[in-house]
């Protein structure tokens, strides 16, 4: 009997100690109350936050078959309790305005809305500030842009988008200008300061035919430079085939003193550039980084880096570097590793399959950390025959979100370190894809990554199999802290079953350098949690 008690106590101590070892202790997690939510609705977006709380914007589908949209803004206090919720009414006299976006600058919330005047054939853009108490737009509308689509159909009336500079002192509002198919794409942009005072505006006609050029992203620098990343194709996109010589990435850079801009082709001889992201560093230099391949667009072999003076177009640093075999095989099982090593020893190309670039972190020294994730869709078709002889075929799509990779590149273009964080998420539900992938925050000099994981992976060791979470019952939300030297540890943030919530990474947000808001949802309920570092 005495022996049994000793064994039981030892077991309890062991379990407690194991739990203590795996729980995340570098930050305090506190949950707010639960609220009702439609999981099929849009994910709420935290648009503004301060010491008193934060404001959350949501679009809700309403009406017959969800054809209508309601725009809701809600105010939460620092305890994550909902204080007020209101539908944003966008009307000017009897005219309905269309909400374009909600943006926060300088602790103010701006509502940007448009009105298509079909008589004048102009699409006007206005801003209003949101009254943080009533949660309604102030009455004063200010017109900040217009798209003239005279001579074109009403459906060719353009659309507005925006990007904010890294230091949040500038906002670029850009829009498509109407053009005929086969012409060069045209668009315009305005650069505003963080009080919506216009600094300058510009209209651009791209130097490429619309059918041979695709814009992939826009960004604005801290001093108001406007840059876009695009892909030039040798053939029409509709007949495009994968060949290394078939497409070329370009960074097009414009600013107040150079409205006609500079076209900077990004070429790695004999390599495919599979992904390129662009931004600007604290010295307002243009930084581009991404992945390349020797085989095709489905795999990556290494990363590249380019640093450019946007005023002169001079390349200040550029490099590309192949990933090491150790890095590529680090999360493989022993069997997979053996197979890959054998392939490499025969001189065959070894690459990492189905990786997408997910983000780029600009470091103060001009270097970057490139973040990628393995993502692919597996299509499985099953055929079954019933007892009466009828044949049924079903097709299931499995969405896989796997390992996260980080490549730390210094300002000279050298890879300082690479790291692969093992992860397996798989779902057949397009809605549950919202719980896939990961969220990134920067805390001090660490990169903090939050994602949903299988509980068994918490004790994962290199070479051992990694378990896939289906984002159901067996789901634990984990925190991976990546240190400045690339070393990382994985700890449990919360268990989905105990917390009655699954983290939706895309709705999480870092609101201060030490605070992250987590969005957790389950069924028709959601709640926020605060993570204080």
């Amino acid at each position: 009997m005495k022996k049994s008690i000793v064994i039981l106590v030892s077991f309890v101590i062991f379990i407690t100690s194991l739990s203590a070892q795996t729980a995340y202790k570098n930050a305090k997690l506190s949950w707010g109350p639960e609220y009702k939510w439609n999981i099929k609705g849009d994910i709420p977006e935290i648009v503004c936050s301060n010491a008193d709380g934060y404001y959350v914007f949501t679009q809700k589908a309403v009406g017959l078959y969800g054809l209508g949209t309601k725009y809701i803004i809600a105010k939460y206090n620092s305890k994550m309790e909902k204080l007020k919720e209101a539908e944003i009414e966008l009307k000017e006299k009897d005219n309905d305005l269309e909400l374009e976006f909600v943006v926060s600058l300088n602790d103010k919330i701006y509502i940007l809305s448009s009105f298509r005047n079909k008589k004048l054939k102009k699409n006007f853009l206005f801003y209003q500030t949101l009254n943080k108490e009533t949660l309604q737009p102030e009455k004063n509308l200010t017109k900040i842009s217009e798209i003239n689509y005279e001579g074109y159909k009403n459906s060719n009336d353009g659309s507005y988008s925006f990007v904010i500079s890294p230091d949040s002192t500038k906002i670029a509002v850009y829009y498509n200008l109407p053009y005929e198919k086969g012409e060069s794409e045209k668009f315009g942009y305005h650069i505003f300061d963080n009080n919506f005072n216009e600094i300058y505006q510009n209209k651009i006609t791209l130097p490429y035919n619309d059918e041979l050029f695709e814009i992939s992203s826009f960004n604005v620098s801290n001093i108001g430079g406007f840059n876009l990343v695009g892909i030039e194709y040798n053939e029409k996109k509709s007949v495009w085939k994968v060949k290394p010589t078939n497409y070329k990435y370009h960074i097009l850079s414009y600013n107040q003193d150079d409205p006609s801009g500079k076209d900077l082709p990004i070429v790695l001889e004999g390599k495919f550039i599979n992904d390129l992201m662009c931004g600007s560093n604290n010295n307002n230099e243009l930084i581009g980084a991404g992945f390349y391949s020797s085989m095709g667009t489905a795999s990556i072999e290494g990363s590249f880096y380019i640093r450019i003076n946007p005023e002169t177009g001079e390349i200040l640093a550029d490099s590309y570097q192949k990933f090491s075999l150790d890095f590529m095989t680090q999360n493989m099982t022993d069997k997979q590793k053996q197979k890959t090593n054998k392939k490499a020893s025969k001189g065959k190309d070894v690459e990492m399959w189905e990786y997408e670039m997910k983000g780029i972190i600009h470091k103060e020294n001009g270097g970057v950390v490139v973040i990628g994730e393995q993502y692919y869709v597996q299509v499985v078709t099953r055929t079954s025959t019933s007892s009466n002889g009828s044949v049924t075929t079903t097709t299931t799509y499995y969405y896989h979100y796997n390992d996260i990779i980080l490549i730390n590149i210094d300002a000279s273009g050298e890879i300082a370190w690479t790291q692969a964080i093992p992860k397996r998420q798989v779902t057949t539900s397009p809605i549950m894809q919202r719980a896939c992938s990961f969220f990134t925050a920067i805390v001090d000099d660490k990169i903090v990554i939050i994602f949903n994981d299988h509980p068994k992976n918490i004790l994962y060791k290199k070479g051992s199999p990694i378990y896939a979470t289906n984002l159901g019952k067996n789901t634990t939300t984990v925190v991976v802290e990546v240190e400045a030297d690339g070393m990382f540890n994985r700890k449990v943030l919360f268990d989905a079953k105990e917390s009655k919530a699954i983290c939706l990474p895309h709705a999480c947000q870092q609101i201060t350098p030490e605070e992250v808001i987590i969005f957790g949802a389950k069924g028709n309920k959601y709640k926020f949690a605060k993570l204080n570092f």
């Binding site: 209508g68 005219n95 009105f115 079909k118 008589k119 004048l120 006007f124 017109k143 009403n154």
Partner: protein
């Protein structure tokens, strides 16, 4: 006197500020001066081809979103109704003497360009016509896939063209009818409509 000057000065300032506010409001108003057409989502149309055919009616098309609209219609079958030109007109005047009835239609429409209610669309037309054929009541139900396009010739005035194909089901209301030779068949309806946006 000093007090009077001060009051007068304040009054002028107040007037200027009020005027500035009104001007600002007027400045904004100019962007919304559109004769009420920009947010208009209702169109009433008259089908010219159908009227020539003997089905005189109007339709009401309501924009539901940038990609969807729904049209409903009501018509009167006139004595000169020509059964979609399948019979020679001279014969019809003899066969369908005193013919009259009604037509109903409903047609949800999908606009690929997100430009509803302007631009090209694809719709499913469900139409029912009820009238006497050789003195016997006859119900005709059509279900068709329609492709159409709508142009605005003026701010409020529009013209629509539609073509489609579908299936016609004919039902003799009297099961003991002596009429024979009425079979279900494929149809290829078309329309030209003029409409008013409000």
């Amino acid at each position: 006197m000093k007090y009077l000057v001060l009051s007068l000065f304040q009054f002028i300032l107040f007037t200027i500020s009020l005027n500035a506010q009104v001007n600002s409001s007027n400045n904004i108003s100019q962007y919304f001066d559109d004769g009420g057409i920009s947010n208009a989502s209702n169109i009433v149309e008259f089908n010219i081809l159908s009227a020539i055919n003997g089905d005189i009616g109007i339709t009401y098309d309501r924009k539901l979103s940038d990609s969807f609209s729904a049209e409903v219609g009501l018509g009167f079958i006139a004595p000169y109704y020509t059964y979609e030109f399948r019979h020679p007109l001279w014969k019809l005047s003899e066969d369908l003497e005193g013919l009259s009835g009604y037509s109903l239609k409903i047609q949800p429409k999908f606009y690929v360009s997100l430009g509803a209610p302007e631009d090209s669309y694809v719709g499913i037309l469900l139409r029912h016509r009820h009238y006497n054929y050789l003195s016997e009541p006859l119900g005709i139900t059509d279900i068709c896939v329609m492709y159409g396009t709508r142009y605005f010739v003026d701010n409020n005035i529009c013209v629509s063209f539609e073509l489609g194909f579908g299936y016609r089901n004919k039902l003799l209301i009297d099961p003991y009818s002596s009429l024979g030779g009425l079979f279900d068949h494929l149809i290829y309806p078309g329309s030209i409509k003029v409409g008013y946006l409000f």
